[in-house]
């Protein structure tokens, strides 16, 4: 199956991704509007990947978390840094690792 890509981001992110050929872009203005758009993207069967910036994802909580838990395998939702390179200091994945692997925080420094 071939799927399209959607982006929710600030103006720069959306513009850049549009230049790269992403089919749907939404520039974040108000919380309600963006949430509405995100719901639409999640429901759309033709969309396989939704990119959105960390900053917006944080702003959309707690609804964002609920939507993430409720969705199936597709579309894949990925949080990306925005123009300022903003990322939360606590990596979500390492949080998950801590929870699943147990108390130890795995450091995967040595590669190969």
């Amino acid at each position: 199956m071939s799927y399209r890509i959607a982006v929710i981001g600030d103006l720069s992110t959306s513009t850049g991704m549009a230049l790269a050929g992403v089919s749907y872009t939404h520039v974040h203005k108000s919380r309600e509007e963006t949430l509405e758009k995100l719901r639409k993207f999640l429901e759309d069967e033709s969309i396989g990947l939704v990119l959105l910036t960390y900053r917006i994802a944080e702003e959309l909580e707690p609804e964002f978390g609920q939507l993430m838990r409720g969705k199936g395998m597709l579309p894949v939702v990925l949080k990306i840094p925005d123009k300022t390179g903003y990322m939360p200091s606590i990596d979500e994945l390492s949080e998950v690792i801590r929870r699943t692997v147990g108390t130890e925080v795995t450091i995967k420094g040595e590669m190969r």
């Binding site: 399209r4 103006l11 850049g16 991704m17 230049l19 050929g21 089919s23 894949v76 840094p81």
Partner: protein, 212 residues
């Protein structure tokens, strides 16, 4: 759920319980194996994710820089207009892969790179800065897609791992010990009844002999 110490202390019940504990044990072993396999898969994904994430995010940063330059060079409005004119039909091929009964997405590596003519914006009003940022973003998108696949897999596996762990623990620390306790109680009770019976018979025998 399972039996407590009030189960009827009969031989039948004992046999039933033994059967149940066998089943629980077997389920426990199977889940254990599943968990081991998931852990291996999980770490495999984690090993790959690290590099992929770093590269993708660096590239995205570079793309944003290029875009800022483009905003400065040909103007914000012109850039936005060109972005609007761009042909936007990037496609992904997504299939799913099964790891121990959970499906994780598998996104095929697609080439996002296009040449300037294929992008669709007017060439004479734009400059090479726009081409540059479009190229950088295409590359960033490609890397992000690869990273997205890994991250989605990692989250799916982690979720399943947690669930499996909970089940294994429930069997190991609650159900199986409880069944064992009940079995012990019943077999003790049965032994006790046997001994009671034994002394009773002895006593009767003594009485009968006295009477003779």
């Amino acid at each position: 759920m399972a039996t407590n110490l009030t189960a009827p202390p009969t031989r039948m019940e004992l046999i039933k319980l033994k059967r149940r504990i066998d089943l629980a044990q077997r389920g426990h072993d199977l889940l254990r194996e599943k968990m081991d396999a998931l852990v291996m898969e999980f770490f495999d994904v984690l090993r790959r994710i690290q590099d992929s994430k770093r590269v993708a995010i660096e590239q995205l940063h570079k793309a944003h820089q290029a875009l800022s330059e483009c905003f400065a060079e040909i103007g914000t409005i012109e850039t936005l207009e060109s972005a609007r004119e761009t042909i936007r039909d990037a496609r992904l091929e997504i299939s799913s892969r099964h790891v121990m009964g959970i499906s994780v997405p598998m996104i095929e590596d697609v080439e996002m790179k296009r040449d300037a003519l294929a992008r669709g914006y007017g060439l004479h009003t734009t400059s090479s800065a726009l081409d540059e940022s479009a190229r950088e973003f295409e590359l960033a998108l490609k890397l992000l897609i690869r990273y997205a696949e890994l991250e989605a897999s990692a989250f799916a596996i982690a979720k399943e791992l947690e669930k499996t762990r909970r089940r294994v623990n429930a069997l190991e620390y609650i159900l199986i010990p409880r069944l064992e306790r009940t079995i012990k109680f019943i077999s003790m009770r049965l032994d006790e009844m046997e001994r009671e019976n034994f002394t009773r018979l002895k006593r009767i025998k003594a009485i009968l002999e006295e009477r003779r």
